[in-house]
């Protein structure tokens, strides 16, 4: 799951992850209709391999996501604010059953616990390249916390650099490690 306010870079992080699947079709379920394919191309996703489904209706959202999971190599799905927890759980179960990687990007909502194998949450981002009216944005450094089953009860903080290409670099693997007891 990719969590964090719009602007903190989680859409691009998801696209970078999608670009790692070099066979078949990758799909993006766009709830708001805002995804810019230019960003996807910049991280190396072939235009012919990217399919974007636009669906803002909560009722249809789960069915569309399920259909995409059936056919695509990997799916990134925005979750609309009105989506029911049970729909998200079903979808996660379907992804596990199919073995299709599913990246969930909640929009203005929380995701029920226990759904995501790995939760990446953006905490803060800083850009370099701009000054008081000069330059242009060039490089971003984002602080992300990683938690979930994949982290075995640990919460790790990671710093990543992004210059617009798909070479997203982890510059600090464990900037500040915290240990928490695993939640039941």
């Amino acid at each position: 799951m990719l969590s964090g306010d719009p602007g903190l870079g989680m859409t691009r992080l998801g696209l970078v992850m999608l670009s790692g699947y070099t066979e078949g079709t990758v799909a993006y379920l766009d709830v708001r209709g805002w995804l810019s394919p230019v960003a996807a191309w910049e991280v190396g996703i072939d235009p012919d391999r990217l399919v974007i489904a636009r669906c803002h209706e909560v009722v249809r959202w789960g069915r569309v996501a399920a259909a995409l999971l059936d056919g695509a190599t990997a799916v990134m799905a925005e979750i609309p604010s009105g989506a029911k927890d049970v729909s998200i759980r079903k979808l996660a179960a379907l992804a596990r059953n199919r073995g299709t990687p599913l990246l969930l990007r909640p929009i203005d909502r929380l995701v029920p616990t226990g759904v995501a194998h790995l939760v990446l949450e953006a905490r803060e981002t800083t850009w370099t390249g701009t000054a008081e009216g000069h330059g242009r944005i060039e490089q971003r450094k984002t602080r992300i916390t990683a938690s979930g089953k994949a982290m075995k009860g640990m919460t790790r903080t990671i710093e990543m650099e992004d210059d617009g290409s798909n070479a997203l670099r982890v510059v600090s693997g464990v900037a500040a490690a915290e240990t928490r007891s695993a939640a039941g």
Partner: protein, 484 residues
């Protein structure tokens, strides 16, 4: 023009006893009248047919040998009307627009053709004359031995009465019947968009045929001449050698076409003999031809030229040429690395997603030229060919520099920036205000003033909550993109 029983014209197949020809897939591809009367139909499995009529004589299809015999018919028809297109031994399409005028009418043309083919191949032919090949084939199929030709006045009204199974799309025919659509006319009367949303591109294809529009789906222009030519020195004198070369040429052709996302529905095969004579034939298919299908057709045609009527290929084969035509993006052959089953599952799943969200809900995009992030995307529906309005390689001075915002609203959204002495200090995100850390701009945008667009100023605003691309026009601030 169709000889439905052509595959049964072989020694050892009695005409007065039931006979059937079976294809490589084990299905019946041709039956004679006696077998038809016994209940055997084309498309049945061999076992099923033999269960219905245990005494039926079954022959395996041998396209190559059938073509040798059929070459004589093609030659005679081509002597009357040029540009004959062969679909398979026994079935040809002939464009007659010019010939009708030359021979003084459709009836006179048909009469002339019938006279010639009757002389060289006897009866058993069926002739259908229509505006398109789909209607013409069904017109021919609907004729009887007593009146073996049918001239269709209006394709759409002729097709309207045909049974829905005529579209030959097994995957949707049963569902159409279940929905109460039993004829092509009933299908044609439904709106294309409704069919597309329920059945995807297969349904659209069926709707197109039912409406009498059997032109090439999703046509592609040939970007460059992809004709493959091979010259032989010394000349080839053996059919097996020529067939081997044809396979390599077909693979090369399909590979080149795959690079431009196209597949041919028609090919022109041309052979040059050592004495300089050139022979040429056009082959057509209802489905896109792959490399195996092309190589097979070249082999059949070469054998027909060598063993059939005419002068053969004197002195050996000096050159072979395969020219693709009627290119389409539909049904492109998968490359070696592509998994056909996975591709088919992907197609089915995406068609299902398209049926849920509608035609405009499942999209693909390709780069095009433009200054604004939104302008640089050429959207098209999934399953349709991409359309590029502007050259992405052309210089676009003043375009927003990369990296691009990952989120670009289709229409700019109102955005609130607090200014202090001409400098942005805070922006409002939802209900909270965040401090501006740095910014770039203003970048003056003149806009298409000749289209009435207002000039504006663009800024990249960097805050602790992320970076935003915004534009100020007429004193109003708009959010153009989010660097998410």
């Amino acid at each position: 023009m169709w000889y439905p029983e052509w595959p049964l014209r072989k020694p050892g197949v009695p005409q007065d006893e039931p006979g059937q020809a079976v294809g490589a897939n084990g299905r019946v591809e041709a039956v004679n009248a006696v077998a038809y009367a016994a209940g055997i139909r084309r498309g049945m499995r061999r076992g099923e047919a033999e269960g219905i009529c245990p005494l039926v004589t079954t022959v395996e299809r041998d396209h190559s040998a059938e073509m040798v015999a059929f070459e004589r018919v093609v030659t005679e028809v081509e002597a009357l009307v040029p540009k004959v297109e062969i679909v398979e031994p026994g079935l040809i399409f002939v464009p007659v627009a010019g010939a009708v005028g030359y021979y003084g009418g459709e009836d006179l043309l048909v009469e002339r053709v019938v006279k010639e083919i009757d002389r060289v191949a006897g009866d058993g032919y069926r002739i259908g004359l229509a505006d398109g090949p789909f209607a013409a084939k069904h017109a021919a199929a609907g004729t009887t031995g007593d009146v073996p030709f049918h001239i269709v006045e209006d394709d759409a009204s002729f097709l309207a009465s045909l049974d829905i199974s005529a579209i030959d799309r097994e995957e949707v025919v049963a569902t159409f019947r279940w929905l109460g659509i039993t004829t092509l006319g009933e299908l044609a009367r439904l709106p294309g968009s409704a069919i597309a949303s329920r059945f995807g591109s297969v349904g659209l294809d069926a709707h197109r045929l039912a409406s009498g529009r059997d032109r090439l789906p999703n046509p592609r222009d040939l970007p460059v001449d992809l004709t493959v030519v091979e010259r032989f020195s010394p000349p080839l004198e053996d059919l097996e050698q020529a067939s081997f070369v044809a396979r390599a040429m077909a693979s090369r052709l399909i590979e080149a076409l795959a690079a431009v996302g196209a597949a041919p529905f028609r090919i022109v095969i041309e052979a040059e003999a050592v004495d300089g004579t050139t022979r040429s034939r056009t082959w057509r298919s209802a489905d896109p031809l792959d490399d195996r299908a092309i190589a097979e057709r070249v082999r059949w045609q070469l054998r027909a030229w060598i063993d059939g009527v005419g002068a053969g290929i004197r002195g050996g084969l000096a050159a072979l040429r395969i020219e693709p035509a009627d290119l389409s993006g539909v049904g492109r052959q998968l490359s070696l690395g592509e998994d056909a089953r996975a591709a088919s599952e992907t197609y089915r799943a995406l068609a299902e997603a398209q049926a849920i969200v509608g035609l405009d809900g499942l999209l693909q995009a390709h780069p095009q030229g433009g200054r604004e992030p939104g302008d640089r995307v050429a959207w098209h529906r999934w399953g349709e060919p991409p359309v590029r309005a502007r050259d992405p390689e052309a210089p676009w001075p003043g375009r927003v520099p990369g990296p691009s915002p990952a989120l670009v609203p289709p229409d700019p959204q109102p955005f609130h920036i607090e200014w202090d002495r001409g400098m942005p200090v805070r922006v409002r995100l939802g209900s909270r205000w965040v401090t501006v850390r740095s910014w770039a701009g203003p970048w003056r945008r003149v806009g298409r003033w000749w289209k009435g667009e207002e000039p504006g100023d663009q800024y990249q605003i960097v805050t602790s909550a992320g970076a935003f691309l915004c534009e100020i026009k007429n004193g109003q601030t708009w959010l153009v993109g989010i660097y998410d």
